[in-house]
C-alpha cells in the first residue's frame, strides 16, 4: 500500500490546463474531469487519493464538488484547490472545508503542483495508517476484554504465568476457591495451597515443563478456603509467539473431586465384586469336592449292602434289593450333579484337564446312544444314529463321552417325544457331530447365553438340572480345539453341531512339537 502510486483526479474546465496537468502527472496516470459532474462520476467509481480542483468552473463549482464529496466519498480524498485572485473568499471556504493546500493561478511551475500533490498523498497515507492502527488497537483491546471476561467466568480455576514460570494472573474463581489474595499467590506463592504430600512432585513436574516447554497434566489436591482439600485436574499449555518462543503459560485447574471419588468407589466395588465371584467359585470347588467324599462312602455302603443281601435267600430280598437299586440310582444322580459342579469349578479355575489318547468317536456315540436308550424310551423319543463306522482321532474319551451324553440327554429332555437324529462324519480332518431334535426349540434371544454358566433357556420349574451341561460341553470341546454351536427355531426343534479336529487338542500338539 505504501509503495502504490496515489490515484489522482485533475478537475479543470480549461482543456489546455488539463492537458498541462496530465503531462505533469503522466507518471501517475491521473484521472481527468472537465467539470464537476464528470468529477462526481469518477469519485463515485474510484477510490481517489488526491483531487486537484479548479474552484471557478461553469456549472458545478469546485466548492460544491467538495461539499458533495464530503458526504459521498468514504474516505474523502485530499483536496488541493487551484484558484485565481478573484476567488480568495472561495479559497478560504475551501480550506475551511478541509482542503489540504491551495495553489494560485497562474501556476508557475509543474514542480510546485507536483510537490503539493505528493505532500497531500503522503498526508492521506499517514491518516489511513493511523486510522488502521487505531482500529487494530480497538479490536485487540476488545478481544483482550473478551478473553479476560471468559477466563474470569469459567468454572475452572485459571491462571497465567510468564515464560519463566512466575504466575502473574489468577482468575476470580481461583481467589474464591482458595480464599487467598494476589499478593499471597504471586510468583511461586501458590505452593501454600498445595498438599504437602504432593507438593514436591508438583514443583518438580512444573519445573520440568518450564525447562522442556512441554505442556503438562496432573491431578493433585488444592486447599479450599475452609481448609478442605479437593482434587483437581490441572492442564498447563505454553503460548508461543510467531517464532515459536514461549511467551506465556496458561493453566486451568478443573475440580474432579466427585468424579475421582466416584471412580475410586467404582474401583472398590469392582474389586469387591471380583473377590465375591472368586470366593463363590472357590466355595463351589470346595463344596463339590467335599460333597463327593460322603457320596463315595454312601455308594459303597449301598452296593455292599446289596452284595450281602444277594448272598442270602430270605423272602422279601427282591423288595429290599429293589429299594436299594432306587437309592443307588439317586446317589448316582447326585454324584452326576456334584461332578457337574466340580467340572464347572475346574473350568472356571482353568483346571479342566484333557487326557488325550487314541479314541473312536463313533464308538463313543454308539455307546452313549445305547446308554440313553431307556431314558429315550420313557420319553417316547426314537434315537436314530447315522455315524461312520469309525471316526478315529486324539481326545479325552471320558470328556467326549460327557459331551455326547449331554447333547443326546438334552435332546431327549427337550425333544417333545419326537425322533432324535445323531450323525457323525469325518470331514477333512474334523469330526462333525450333529444332534438334531424336533422338540420345543430355543428362542433366538436365549441361544446366545445357552453355553454360559448356569444358563437355561426354559423355566427350571418344568425342567430340572443345574444348567451346567452345555457350559461344560463347550469347555470340553474348546479344550479339544473344536467348536460347538446351535441352530434352533421355537416349536421346530434344535440342532447342535460339534466340530473337533481329529489331530487332538492344540496344547498337546504344541507340546509334541516342542519336545
Amino acid at each position: 500500500m505504501e509503495n502504490a502510486a496515489p490515484v489522482i483526479l485533475l478537475v479543470d474546465d480549461d482543456p489546455g490546463v488539463l492537458e498541462t496537468y496530465r503531462r505533469s502527472f503522466a507518471q501517475f496516470e491521473p484521472l481527468l474531469a472537465h467539470d464537476g459532474v464528470a468529477a462526481q462520476t469518477i469519485l463515485s467509481a474510484f477510490a481517489v487519493d488526491v483531487v486537484v480542483c479548479d474552484l471557478k468552473m461553469p456549472g458545478m463549482k469546485g466548492l460544491d464538488l467538495m461539499k458533495w464529496a464530503r458526504e459521498h466519498c468514504q474516505p474523502n480524498p485530499e483536496w488541493i484547490v487551484v484558484s485565481g485572485e478573484a476567488t480568495l473568499d472561495a479559497t478560504i471556504q475551501a480550506l475551511k472545508l478541509g482542503a489540504f493546500d491551495f495553489i494560485c493561478k497562474p501556476i508557475l511551475s509543474p514542480m510546485q503542483l507536483r510537490t503539493a500533490v505528493t505532500n497531500a498523498a503522503r498526508h492521506k497515507r499517514l491518516l489511513a495508517e493511523v486510522a488502521e492502527r487505531r482500529a487494530l488497537e480497538v479490536a485487540l483491546r476488545e478481544s483482550e476484554r473478551q478473553v479476560r471476561q471468559l477466563v474470569e467466568n469459567i468454572a475452572d480455576l485459571a491462571w497465567s504465568a510468564t515464560a519463566d514460570g512466575r504466575i502473574d494472573f489468577y482468575n476470580r474463581r481461583w481467589y474464591e476457591y482458595t480464599g487467598t489474595t494476589f499478593e499471597q499467590m504471586e510468583g511461586w506463592g501458590w505452593r501454600s495451597v498445595h498438599h504437602p504430600a504432593l507438593l514436591e512432585q508438583v514443583v518438580e513436574r512444573w519445573t520440568r515443563a518450564l525447562a522442556t516447554g512441554e505442556p503438562f497434566e496432573m491431578e493433585f489436591p488444592l486447599r479450599r478456603a475452609d481448609g478442605v482439600f479437593r482434587w483437581f485436574l490441572t492442564r498447563v499449555r505454553p503460548l508461543r509467539d510467531a517464532d515459536g518462543r514461549i511467551t506465556r503459560w496458561f493453566g486451568t485447574n478443573t475440580d474432579i473431586d466427585e468424579a475421582r471419588a466416584a471412580r475410586s468407589e467404582r474401583e472398590r466395588l469392582i474389586a469387591d465384586l471380583r473377590q465375591s465371584v472368586e470366593a463363590r467359585d472357590e466355595f463351589l470347588a470346595i463344596a463339590a469336592h467335599e460333597l463327593r467324599t460322603p457320596l463315595t462312602a454312601l455308594q459303597l455302603q449301598l452296593e455292599g449292602t446289596a452284595h450281602l443281601i444277594g448272598r442270602t435267600s430270605n423272602p422279601g430280598n427282591d423288595k429290599l434289593l429293589g429299594k436299594l437299586a432306587v437309592a443307588s440310582r439317586q446317589v448316582t444322580h447326585l454324584g452326576t450333579l456334584v461332578n457337574g459342579l466340580l467340572d464347572v469349578a475346574r473350568c472356571i479355575q482353568g483346571r479342566l484337564i484333557i487326557e488325550t489318547e487314541e479314541v473312536d468317536l463313533a464308538e463313543i456315540v454308539r455307546a452313549v446312544v445305547e446308554r440313553c436308550g431307556p431314558q429315550a424310551q420313557s420319553a417316547g423319543c426314537a434315537l436314530i444314529v447315522d455315524a461312520e463306522k469309525e471316526v478315529k482321532g486324539r481326545g479325552d474319551r471320558t470328556r467326549l463321552d460327557q459331551v455326547v451324553s449331554n447333547l443326546v440327554g438334552n435332546s431327549i429332555k427337550y425333544g417333545a417325544g419326537q425322533p432324535i437324529r445323531t450323525t457323525l462324519h469325518a470331514v477333512e480332518g474334523v469330526a462333525l457331530l450333529r444332534v438334531e431334535d424336533r422338540g420345543i426349540g430355543i428362542r433366538p434371544e436365549d441361544t446366545a447365553r445357552l453355553f454360559a454358566r448356569f444358563a437355561r433357556a426354559v423355566s427350571s420349574n418344568s425342567y430340572g438340572g443345574l444348567g451346567l451341561g452345555l457350559y461344560i460341553a463347550r469347555q470340553i470341546v474348546e479344550a479339544h480345539g473344536g467348536t460347538i454351536d446351535v441352530a434352533s427355531e421355537v416349536g421346530q426343534g434344535s440342532t447342535f453341531t460339534v466340530r473337533i479336529p481329529l489331530v487332538g487338542p492344540p496344547a498337546e500338539r504344541k507340546r509334541e512339537a516342542s519336545s
Binding site: A297, Q299, L300, G304, H307, L342, I353
Partner: protein, 133 residues
C-alpha cells in the same frame, strides 16, 4: 486263580466314613483290612513290626501327611517300597498322579466291583468270608 496268604489291605484315608466303609466292606468279603487316617499314622503302623499288607489304598488329600508325601517316604524305605499302592483320588489329573507317584490310580468314587477287583488282584480270592447269613 491262585489262593495266596493275604496279609491284609491297608486303607489310608482321612475320612472316617470312607475308611470304615472300605474296611468293613473288605472284611465282609473275607479280606483282613485295617486303616490309618493320614500318611504319618500309616508309616507308624507299617513300621511297628506287624506283617506288611498286600496292598495299600491311598487317598491323596489328607491332613498332617498327604498321599504324595507318604508315597515319597515309602519309596525311600527299603522295607516298605515294594508294597503295591493304588491311589484313589477325586483329582482331575489322573495321568499326572500316575506319573508322579508311580502307582495305579483310580478316580473316586469307585464302585464295589472296582474295590473287589483290586483286592482280588493283590490278595487273591478270599477263602473265608467272615460274614455269613
Amino acid at each position: 486263580m491262585t489262593t495266596l496268604a493275604c496279609t491284609g489291605i491297608f486303607v489310608v484315608d482321612d475320612d472316617d466314613d470312607v475308611r470304615d466303609t472300605f474296611i468293613q466292606t473288605l472284611t465282609d468279603e473275607g479280606y483282613p483290612a485295617f486303616g490309618a487316617a493320614n500318611g504319618k499314622e500309616a508309616l507308624g503302623k507299617l513300621r511297628d513290626g506287624a506283617p506288611l499288607p498286600c496292598v495299600i489304598l491311598l487317598d491323596m488329600m489328607m491332613p498332617v501327611m498327604d498321599g504324595r508325601a507318604f508315597r515319597a517316604e515309602q519309596l525311600q524305605d527299603g522295607l516298605l517300597s515294594n508294597i503295591p499302592v493304588v491311589v484313589l483320588t477325586a483329582h482331575a489329573d489322573i495321568r499326572g498322579v500316575e506319573r508322579d507317584l508311580r502307582t495305579g490310580v483310580l478316580r473316586k468314587p469307585i464302585s464295589l466291583a472296582q474295590l473287589f477287583e483290586i483286592a482280588a488282584t493283590h490278595c487273591g480270592k478270599p477263602t473265608s468270608p467272615r460274614w455269613s447269613p
